[in-house]
């Protein structure tokens, strides 16, 4: 249930929406790239028979 934001509802919700969107974007981007690189490293290491890092 949203609190009563009165006449400033639009700026407050815009600020929260934009900020949470940006946070979500950097988190998802970080996780996506991390997963992709981890998979790539595993493939290369398996091909070369190494598992150091």
């Amino acid at each position: 249930m949203l609190p009563d934001l009165g006449k400033y509802a639009l700026p407050v919700l815009t600020a929260y929406g934009a900020s949470l969107g940006l946070i979500l974007a950097i988190v998802l981007l970080t996780l996506w790239r991390g997963t992709r690189v981890r998979r790539l490293l595993r493939d290369v290491e398996q091909r070369q028979g190494r598992t150091d890092v």
Binding site: P3, D4, L5, G6, K7, Y8, A9, P11, V12, T14, A15, Y16, A18, S19, L22, I23, A25, I26, V27, L29, T30, L31, R33, G34, V37, R38, L40, L41, V44, E45, R47, Q48, R50, D52, V53
Partner: protein, 242 residues
């Protein structure tokens, strides 16, 4: 035990693997608690109405935008002086996170400024220095991408980081240097006895803690990824030479 042990990628990977789940859980707890408390359970300000709720995003994001750059400065100096690769990669990892915080501060500031000042933007000392800081972040990220040799990229970005630090510091103290413009002075200061009313202060502290922990978590995650990228590059180079 010395702090320089963590400059060893293997040691860093081991330690960060243990720290990451705790950091992520603490981030989620602080952010959710702080934002829910601030958004749902704090009153409107007598002057600013419900727009005061933007403080829980704007102040922590602005604080971390500046401090992320200062962390990058410290890591860059360590790279330049001691040539520890993990520190250069940590600085690289922090760039996009710092840019995100800078954008949040700029967007929330504009959205807050419109109803309070009557304008989205003004060429005010703090706003302008913050915009320049955002451009420095973009330049820093672009420079890492543009230079192929990783050590050269680390050298060049470290120098850029030192130059950009002027604007990071300026954006913090601009309102003190030039006593003009629309932006108010610092919301929180160690010099003052009381900063803002306790009803806003405690959820704000929780949100600041959440942003600090989010920065730490994301930088740890991204540094681990950068270390793995280096490892992939090294293995592929060895494969090509064989």
């Amino acid at each position: 035990m010395s702090i320089w042990e963590y400059a060893n990628p293997k040691k860093f990977m081991e330690t960060s693997a243990i720290a990451l789940p705790w950091a992520a859980a603490a981030t989620a707890a602080c952010l959710v608690a702080g934002l829910v408390w601030g958004f749902f359970f704090t009153p409107d300000d007598y002057k600013q109405g419900s727009t005061v709720k933007i403080i829980y995003l704007h102040v922590p994001a602005a604080l971390m935008a500046i401090n992320a750059w200062l962390m990058m400065l410290a890591a860059s100096l360590i790279w330049l002086v001691r040539r520890h690769h993990v520190s250069a990669l940590a600085a690289k990892a922090a760039g996009p996170v710092g840019l995100t915080f800078t954008l949040i501060a700029l967007v929330t500031g504009a959205v807050w400024g419109q109803p309070m000042w009557g304008t989205w933007w003004a060429w005010d000392p703090r706003l302008t220095s913050f915009l320049i800081l955002a451009l420095f972040y973009l330049g820093y990220i672009a420079l890492w991408q543009a230079v192929e040799n990783p050590d050269t990229a680390a050298d060049l970005t470290s120098v850029l980081c030192i130059v950009g630090s002027v604007f990071a510091v300026l954006s913090r103290y601009a309102v003190n240097f030039w006593n003009q413009g629309l932006h108010q002075g610092a919301t929180l200061s160690l010099d003052k006895e009381e900063n803002i009313s306790d009803v806003f202060y405690f959820p704000l502290l929780l949100c600041i803690g959440g942003f600090v922990l989010m920065f730490l978590t994301l930088v740890l995650l991204r540094t681990r990824t950068e270390i793995r990228v280096r490892r992939v590059q090294a293995l592929l180079a060895r494969e090509r030479m064989a």
